[in-house]
Each structure stands twice: as C-alpha cells, then as structure tokens.
C-alpha cells in the first residue's frame, strides 16, 4: 500500500510537470496583446485524477487478470457480421436524415475510411510500413487540380488519371526502396512524403506554391452542374428544384461513398486472388515466399501501386470537394492519422479500419458538438470550455487511444482474419 501511494505520487508529479504548462497556462488576447493567464484549478484537477487513477490501478491490479487473447465469442461474431451491413444502410440513408453539418462530417469520415482502406492494402495486407501515404493523396489532388484548371478536364475523366498518376509515383518510389525492410522502408517513405510536399511548396510556376490552387471545378452528375444559378444544364434546373448548396453537399457525399465502397469491393476481391494471397504471405514470411518462386519485388510493387492508386482517387475527391488545395493539407500528420486508423482498426481488417475512422474522426467531432450542445443547454462554462479546447487535444486523444488499444488488443480492434478460401465450403457450393 505504501509503495502504491509512492508510485501514484510519482505519477502525479510527472502529470504535474506535463499538465502545469499544458493545461495550467493559457494565452488570451488582452488589452496589450497576448496575456498569460493561470488555470491552477484545472491543472490540479487533472493531477489529482492521475493520482487517484494510478492508485486505483495499482491496488486493483492484483485482481484484474491480464487480457486473454482468445477468439471472439459466437455472439460477437454474429454482431460483427451484422455490423457491416448495418453501417452500410446507415451510410446510404444518412443524407436524408441529417443536416448539412452531419453530411459534411460523414464526408470527412468517409474520406479517411477510403484512405485507410487504401493504406490497408500496403500496411495491412502486404505488411509494408508506409509513413508517406499522404504523398499519393497529394499527387491525386494536384493531378486533378492541375488538369482541371489548366486543361479544363472534368472530374470524372480526371479521376482515373489521378489514380494512375498516383500509382505511377508509387511504382517510381517503390522501385528503389522496396528492397529495404521494415524500419528502413518506413524512413524512406516518410522522406518521400516530405519531398512531395516541399516540391509542391516550391515549384511555384506549376503549383502556385503555398498559395495553392483555387477554383477547382466541382464534379457533375452525368453532365449536370451543381451551381446556384439554377439555369440550363444544372442539377436544380433539370429537376425543376430550387438550387441549394445542400444538393451539392449530398452529391459529394455519395461520390465519396461510392469511391470508398469501390475501394472496399476491389480490396476484398483482391484478397481472394493469388496476388492478394501473395501479399499476405509476404507479410508473414518474405524468405519463404522467395523459396516458392514468388517475385518479391514485383509483388511488393503491385501492393504499393494499388495502395497509391486509391490514395490518388481520394486525393482527387479531396480537391474537388474543397475547390482549393495547398501543400498545407498534405503534411505528415495526415499520413500518421491514416496509419493510426489502420493500426487501431486492425491490420488487414476492412471493418476495423472503418470503425477506427468513424471513432477517431467522427467520434471526436461528435463529442465536441455534444459538449457544446450541453453547454448551450445548461449554460455551463465548463462544458463550453472543454468543447472549445477538445480539437486542440485531438492528437493527445488519438495517441491515448492508440496506447490503450495496443495494450488491450495488440492486433487492433478487429483482429480476426477471414481465410480467403475454405476447403469445407467448397463441398457445399
């Protein structure tokens, strides 16, 4: 008991060191510029929480069995099987129920789901740690933006081009670096992500540098534009409706939903082909693959290229949705976020990645909205304060979630692997 108290005190001390400046001090716009204000109570509350939490953990630790890594219970399997269709139906009907806010949020979540699924091919299936995935996202976005702005090409004709260009860069990068293993590959891909961003920043004559590209055209629905004039050749004009922004927002939502589902379908099919199996075999044991006559470099390259292609699609969508892109949108943090989503969800698990993206991107935003809603209702400054600052702690919460999941479920939230082929099922079908 005494040692537990000492240990908890030590933890509290560390927390004090961390949170005294982080939470205890805030800057505010005062009369004479920025002013520093103290928040001793908030910091003290957190430190006390850490102390009590640690104490509880230590005294209860003896009673808590370590997490058993076992197969999921039948009930969980059934719930899991129902979850994917339920999510799909929810995604399909969401725009009809929600306000613009929710549709926008869902679009953002779906963008991350698509990126996660794309990266899942590289990291989850082929087992290649790619820390520069954002590079392909950027290539896709800039491909579309430049083609559209300079040559007046439309979204749908540029979409495949953006994917192909991203895949091309994937191969170009992959060729020299895929002989590297593990950590080395991670570092080189990290560097590649930075190089692409820096080139975009500095090649002003092509990319307009840090000012970015504006006026990127929106996608059309079979040639119908979503513009506010409501005249000939617009969506509203064709269907005799009042032109409203929400129509375009919903359309964009369905575009990304379609793209994400395409990614999912393609990946699930790929897993069942010889190529997909070779990827997974590569992840398990590269040496054995070589001894079976598998061309390891080519197989890795295809994984890289296909992952990059999906990143490129997502990038093109991002460009058309924002109508404006600049290198600022393609920082390392994006790569890290997508990678965290893949690792959290469970390497190789499509459902896990979707869940992780929903929780990490959507969940946090919803929590913020809920807190500010509570604050409005109750007039409580505490909730308002937390709601306002929640986005600042996004990365902290992300990191915490990663640590917790990795401790409790080292293989991610959804860690079961479905075999790509069954001998028994063949007898039935």
């Amino acid at each position: 008991m005494k040692s537990a108290v000492r240990d908890a005190g030590l933890s509290a001390l560390v927390a004090l060191g961390l949170f005294a400046p982080l939470i205890g001090l805030v800057t505010e716009n005062g009369d004479h510029g920025l002013e520093l204000r103290g928040r001793p109570l908030a910091a003290a509350a957190v430190v006390v929480l850490v102390f009590l939490g640690r104490l509880l953990m230590l005294t209860r630790a003896a009673h808590i069995a370590p997490p058993v890594v076992s197969g999921p219970s039948p009930a969980m399997v059934r719930a899991g099987r129902a979850l994917a269709p339920a999510l799909l139906v929810f995604a399909l009907v969401l725009p009809f129920g929600g306000s613009r806010y929710y549709v926008d949020l869902a679009t953002l979540v779906l963008t991350y789901i698509m990126l996660g699924w794309g990266l899942n091919v590289v990291v989850g299936l082929a087992g290649l740690l790619d820390l520069g995935y954002v590079a392909f996202y950027a290539v896709g976005a800039y491909s579309y933006a430049l083609l559209a702005v300079n040559f007046g090409l439309g979204f749908w004709s540029c979409l495949p081009l953006a994917g192909i260009l991203a895949a091309f860069w994937g191969v170009l990068l992959g060729f020299p670096v895929l002989r590297l293993r593990g950590d080395y590959l991670a570092i080189v891909t990290l560097a590649f992500g930075e190089i692409i961003r820096i080139v975009l920043n500095n090649w002003v004559s092509l990319t307009n540098g840090p000012n970015g590209i504006t006026g990127i055209p929106r996608p059309t629905l079979f040639g119908l534009r979503f513009s506010m004039d409501g005249g000939e050749g617009t969506f509203a004009g064709f269907f005799n409706m009042e032109p409203e922004t929400i129509q375009r927002v919903i359309f964009l939502y369905y575009v990304i939903l379609g793209l994400a589902l395409l990614t999912n379908w393609f990946t699930l099919r790929l897993r069942r082909t010889p190529l997909g199996r070779a990827w997974e075999a590569l992840r398990e044991d590269e040496t054995a693959c070589r001894s079976l006559g598998i061309n390891v470099t080519n197989t890795k390259l295809t994984a890289f290229a296909i992952g990059a292609m999906f990143g490129g699609f997502a990038g093109a969508f991002f460009a058309t949705r924002q109508a404006f892109i600049s290198p600022e949108s393609f920082t390392f943090i994006e790569s890290a976020t997508v990678l965290a989503i893949v690792v959290l969800g469970g390497l190789g698990s499509q459902l896990g990645v979707a869940l992780a993206a929903i929780v990490m991107v959507g969940g946090l935003e919803l929590l913020r909205a809920f807190l500010s809603f509570l604050a409005d209702q109750m007039g409580s400054p505490i909730f308002a304060g937390i709601a306002n600052e929640l986005p600042l702690y996004r990365m902290l919460i992300f990191g915490l979630a990663l640590v917790v999941v990795m401790v409790l479920r080292p293989r991610g939230m959804v860690s079961t692997r479905t075999p790509t082929v069954l001998l028994v099922a063949r007898g039935q079908g």
Binding site: L270, T273, P274, R277, G293, P419, L422, L423
Partner: protein, 266 residues
C-alpha cells in the same frame, strides 16, 4: 541432375564452404551430413539462390536436358524456372494463413498467370475459376498425403510441430519441383513421426523427384538415402553409399564420434 563444382562460400574471413564438389543423381536421395557448423545449410542457401557463391558453379540439368546455372539465377527464378524447392532448418510457414492457403501460395506462379495478372480473378471470369479449382485439387491431394485434410482451414501456426514440418514439405512440393532440398526435416520429430516422414520422402522419390537432404538423425539418413556426402569445416571428407560412408575412417573420426554427442545434445 545437380552438379556442384568447386563451390566456395566466404563470410568475411570465414570459409563456410571450401572447394566443394559433388553430384546429386536424378531419382535418388542424396544426403548431406556433417557436424554442426560444417556448412550444410550454407550449401543449400547457395543452391537455392539465397547466397551468391564466392566461387564455383552449380548446374542443374532436368529430365528434358535443359541446363540451369543456379549460381547465377535470382532466387525466385530458381524455384519458378529451374523448379528447385526447399524447406528451412527453422520452419518458415505463413503462420497466420490457413493450411490450405499455404499450399495455394506455393502455386502462385501458375495461378497468377491463369488469373490474367489478377484482373480476371478480380472479375471472377472463367479461365481463372478452372485454374483455382485445379490448384485446390492439388492442395487437397497433398493434404491427404500428409494427413492434414481435417485441419485444412486452421491457421498453419496452430498445428503441432511435426505437422508443420510435413506441411512445409507439402508446400514445397506444390511448386512441382524436380529437386527438393530438405534442411533437417526430422529435427524434433518423435519416432512415429520420423517413420511417417521416411515413408513420405520415399514416396516423393518414387514419384520421380530428386531429393537433397540435410539430416542429423543417422537413422533416417542410413535408411533412406542412396548416396551420402559428408562435410566437415566446409570441406568434403567422404562421398559414397551409406555402407561406404559408415565404414570410412575419416568420417568416423570427424563426424560420427562427435556426432553422437550432438545428437544427445539436440
């Protein structure tokens, strides 16, 4: 079938294999034996393209008379073109994948060609279906032979040790090799499993596949091999039939004397 001439492999100052020459004749089981660290695995790694020999040549001549210079081919080609398969001293299965999937991955090159480089397979079009069914049939055949048909859909890593050894051999056989190189297949097996292994290897030989075998278990070596090559410190010290090798004084001095200790330690 396989002829190794003047093979030398240096690691820095260490000569792991020193001017080694031997032949493995078609349709025979050739055993490579020698004390720990004699350089046996290194020879295998040279034959299967994992190491590039410092000197010497390795030539494989198949039944049709085609010649492959294995010392100059990239590793994956040695398996896919020259049809040399191998297993590893420490088992290398795809542990997270099922037993059946392990056998399908081994047929990768055949299947991927049939899949029209994946496009046909993604769309699920005709020709690939037939190829996959054929691949499954072959996998089923090998599962029957190694007695693992009931465990086909379990992860390979969940199998008992002896079964994993057999599966690794079956996986190697799925590339339709002309030469199968086995690195200590009997290590860690109990007597019953060892007998089953002997039967399996003899059956593989009867099917016309040539075998190259590294083994410490003298029981296995003496019973099934047609021809034995003995290494010590990277040099060949004897080469002949089991009876000849057993009677060779150099072998008794260098190997069998300490070999007994090795076996007890292992």
């Amino acid at each position: 079938m396989l002829s190794v001439t003047g093979l030398t492999m240096r690691f820095g100052g260490l000569k792991a294999v020193d001017d080694l020459s031997f032949e493995a004749r078609a349709g025979e089981i050739t055993a490579v034996i020698g004390p720990n660290g004699a350089g046996k695995t290194t020879v295998f790694n040279c034959i299967t393209g994992f190491y590039r020999p410092s000197e010497g040549g390795i030539v494989l001549t198949d039944a049709e008379g085609a010649r492959f210079a294995l010392d100059r081919m990239p590793g994956h080609r040695i398996a896919s073109r020259a049809k040399v398969a191998r297993t590893f001293q420490n088992i290398r299965l795809f542990a997270g994948m099922t037993v059946l999937e392990n056998l399908l991955v081994a047929q990768h090159n055949v299947l991927i060609r049939a899949s029209g480089f994946t496009l046909l397979a993604v769309l699920g079009v005709g020709r690939y279906r037939a190829a996959e069914a054929h691949g499954l049939e072959k996998a089923r055949h090998w599962l029957d032979r190694i007695g693992l048909i009931d465990r086909a859909d379990d992860p390979a890593g969940a199998l008992p040790y002896g079964a994993q050894r057999r599966l690794e051999i079956a996986r190697a056989m799925c590339i339709d090799p002309v030469l199968l190189c086995l690195d200590e297949p009997a290590a860690g097996l109990n007597p019953r499993e060892t007998d089953a292994l002997n039967a399996l290897l003899l059956a593989i030989r009867a099917d016309g596949c040539t075998l190259l075998l590294i083994e410490h278990d003298m029981g296995v070596v003496m019973r099934i091999s047609d021809h034995i090559v003995v290494l010590d410190h990277g040099k060949k010290i004897a080469d002949g039939t089991p009876a000849e090798v057993r009677a060779d004084p150099a072998v008794i001095a260098a190997y069998l004397g300490e070999g007994d200790e090795d076996e007890e330690a292992a």
